[in-house]
């Protein structure tokens, strides 16, 4: 038995030697938090098992993509993009998992180097699961759906404060993050357009499911039929003509957004975080540690902050009567609420960066800007980030302190954009609440 301590010490020594061999060694506390208990738990899994499997496929995309991007050279992007797109479609279509995975299950490398990102995503996916369950559960009466959803939001914010997403609309949180002129912004959509569009299909599907639940009520048969229509539509139309932008909750789930704007905003903030994380991980100009610093800055900027409640209902509903069982042209196109936010932010920053911009140059800049917002590369589009494109056209453009450094916030830009939002939208009326006293039904 004498050899036991020797082996143990040798094994431990090897592990710790490996640990000390790098100056970039870091570690974080685990800090996992369990799901919130309620009578609705796992209702979506039990009632809509096929849809849970589709969601698992999308979460396979979300988790695996981190490792793919961190471990891929940009030069190999074309093949990697095509292969990953095919792998995700196979996972989704063939329902490879019946249970939604945690991020670590398919992104183990990223879990080692940026654990807080996965804590953030997993905790917010738990919130997704909670709210799907509440809507799916027949143990929660229709008139009580909002009450239970509000409880889920409250506990989501309270139990994991460090990583909870903001309840403020994306208009506010994107301005807080102030990452538009960072050297990575638009990398993912431009260099990995197929994989990016998988995320945008997923971000069409998630709100579509909520809205299908809002349209169909609790009754047996109705919700099942509405959700099946959404799933069928995804394979028949949406995958064939994938959305060219990230669709926001306000566009695709207006009824749910009226019932729980807090939850709707949390979803948008998480979905945008996915995109920004992929942008940062695609960017090769920084070390892993710098990528982590920037990612953690973005996570903090888009997190819940006291006072966010006053902005909760500050958004418009462009399609208040949308029917999720159809896929009209406006859903697929690049123009929508997201591009509107981006355009506003760009216009708010331009006077600081380019104070004496000639009208013809401004026109060229905006044309370039719009191309950068769309996935893939178009003829005449400058390769790289939005920042790269702007700098190529105007090498003398003024950059704010912190605009390029990882982990630093360009404060002047941030303040200018928040001021811009306040001037344009500060007095907008709140989006109206939804009357939940009358239960809709599609049951036959």
């Amino acid at each position: 038995m004498k050899f036991i301590p020797s082996i143990a010490f040798a094994f431990s020594g090897l592990l710790l030697l490996g640990a000390c061999s790098s100056s970039s060694t870091t570690t974080e506390p685990r800090k996992e938090v369990s799901y919130i208990r309620g009578p609705y738990n796992a209702a979506f899994f039990r009632r809509h098992g096929d849809s849970e499997a589709l969601s698992a496929g999308f979460h396979f995309h979300h988790g695996r993509e981190h490792d793919v991007l961190l471990q891929t050279k940009l030069a190999d992007r074309e093949k990697v993009d095509a292969d990953f797109d095919a792998a995700v479609f196979d996972f989704v279509k063939n329902q490879k998992s019946k249970v939604g995975p945690s991020m670590e299950l398919f992104g183990p490398y990223t879990a080692r180097v940026m654990w807080r990102l996965f804590r953030t995503i997993d905790w917010t996916h738990q919130h997704h699961e909670q709210t799907y369950d509440i809507m799916a559960s027949q143990r929660v009466a229709w008139a009580k759906k909002k009450e239970w959803t509000d409880r889920a939001v409250k506990l989501y914010l309270a139990r994991n404060k460090e990583v909870a997403r903001s309840v403020a609309p994306l208009d506010i949180t994107m301005r807080r993050a102030a990452c538009m002129m960072k050297p990575y912004f638009t990398y993912y959509r431009n260099f990995y357009p197929k994989s990016n569009s998988q995320a945008w299909v997923a971000h069409w599907w998630h709100p579509a499911i909520y809205e299908a639940q809002m349209l169909s009520g609790n009754a047996a048969g109705g919700q099942e039929a509405a959700i099946k229509s959404v799933n069928d539509l995804m394979f028949s139309d949406v995958y064939k003509n994938r959305p060219q932008r990230m669709i926001l909750s306000r566009e695709l789930m207006p009824r749910y957004s009226r019932m729980s704007p807090e939850s709707a905003n949390i979803f948008d903030n998480l979905h945008m975080l996915h995109g920004l994380a992929y942008d940062i991980l695609s960017y090769e100009g920084w070390t892993e540690q710098q990528q982590r610093d920037e990612l953690y800055r973005v996570i903090d900027a888009m997190s819940y902050q006291p006072g966010d409640e006053k902005y909760v209902r500050k958004f418009e509903l462009p399609y208040p009567d949308v029917d999720l069982r159809q896929y009209p042209a406006w859903m697929a196109g690049p123009e929508g609420s997201m591009s509107k936010i981006m355009m506003e932010m760009m216009m708010e920053m331009m006077p600081m960066m380019m104070p004496d911009l000639a009208p013809d140059m401004k026109e060229k800049m905006m044309a370039q800007f719009q191309m950068k917002m769309r996935p893939g590369m178009e003829p005449g589009e400058t390769e790289g980030s939005l920042h790269d494109a702007m700098m190529k056209m105007m090498p003398g453009m003024k950059m704010m302190p912190g605009a390029l450094e990882p982990g630093k916030t360009p404060e002047m830009m941030r303040e200018a954009m928040l001021k811009g939002w306040q001037e344009k939208h500060g007095n907008m009326p709140d989006v109206p609440p939804l009357d939940m006293s009358q239960e809709p039904t599609l049951a036959r």
């Binding site: 490996g18 640990a19 685990r30 369990s34 799901y35 249970v99 299950l105 183990p108």
Partner: protein
């Protein structure tokens, strides 16, 4: 214990598991290894804060002497604090093997110091007290475990090391034939193992155990292997087997495990 007893026991355990499964809803995790589910290897991660989980490993052991023992260990595991889990369990034994200790109450805990980094392993310390509430038990025993977990090459291929120490506060003497066997007051065990995800909902765990056995002069080695499968968002089932190497270890064991968060 005859074959029909073993078959009945396993059928009873299986039907309990299957009967409970449709009601299951909670958070278990196929890659988070707990000792006994289905091998004795434990990883360095605790259950999530706020989690409540019912566990039931059912372990059949056949000794080199041909004795049979079935061990049911109903366990309540709680994530009471961040990075900390507590567990209360009461192992119950049946069969013609040594059932001493059946009905003892065990109170255990695990504290995790960190999630693993790119180079640093995850580190945890675990320990348990065994209260002499069961059959032929005297004195409060305790054990401790030092645990390391490290993934390889940025994948989910994980190596684990457990170094366990057991203290028997009142070692006894047992007659076996013409021989008097004396219990050790202190003993050590080393477990080295490997786990990986083999399918989206399934993981494999294999390990090697080298241990000082309960009686002086006896050493045991075992090879263990098992599968853990995520059945639904709240339920993990596991199945494992172990083969003893040499003359002192159990001849073989099989384990059926059930974890249900609620």
């Amino acid at each position: 214990m005859n074959k029909s007893f073993i078959v009945r026991s396993l059928l009873l355990a299986t039907s309990c598991l299957l009967g409970l499964a449709p009601l299951a809803h909670a958070q278990s995790d196929q890659i988070n290894l707990d000792a006994g589910l289905p091998t004795r290897l434990e990883d360095a991660y605790p259950t999530a804060r706020g989690n409540r989980e019912f566990q039931l490993p059912v372990r059949y052991q056949r000794s080199q002497q041909g004795n049979n023992l079935v061990e049911y260990t109903p366990t309540l595991e709680l994530g009471l604090f961040r990075n900390t889990q507590l567990a209360v369990s009461v192992p119950i034994y049946s069969g013609n093997g040594d059932r001493g200790g059946s009905g003892n109450v065990q109170i255990g805990g695990l504290y995790n110091f960190n999630t693993e980094g790119k180079f640093l392993p995850a580190v945890a310390l675990a320990g348990a007290l065994t209260l002499p509430t069961g059959l032929r038990s005297e004195g409060t025993d305790y054990n401790g475990r030092f645990i390391l977990t490290k993934s390889l090459f940025g994948t989910l291929n994980r190596l684990h090391l457990n170094l366990a120490y057991f203290h028997n506060s009142q070692p006894g003497v047992q007659a076996e034939g013409n021989e008097l066997k004396v219990e050790r007051p202190d003993r050590l065990a080393l477990l080295v193992g490997y786990s990986t995800r083999i399918a989206p909902q399934s993981s494999l765990v294999v390990d090697f155990v080298r241990e000082q056995r309960r009686f002086r002069g006896e050493m045991g080695s075992s090879l263990e292997a098992g599968i853990r499968r995520q059945m639904n968002p709240r339920l993990v089932l596991s199945l494992g087997a172990a083969a003893g190497l040499g003359t002192d270890a159990d001849k073989f064991t099989t384990t059926l495990g059930f974890q249900h968060a609620f």
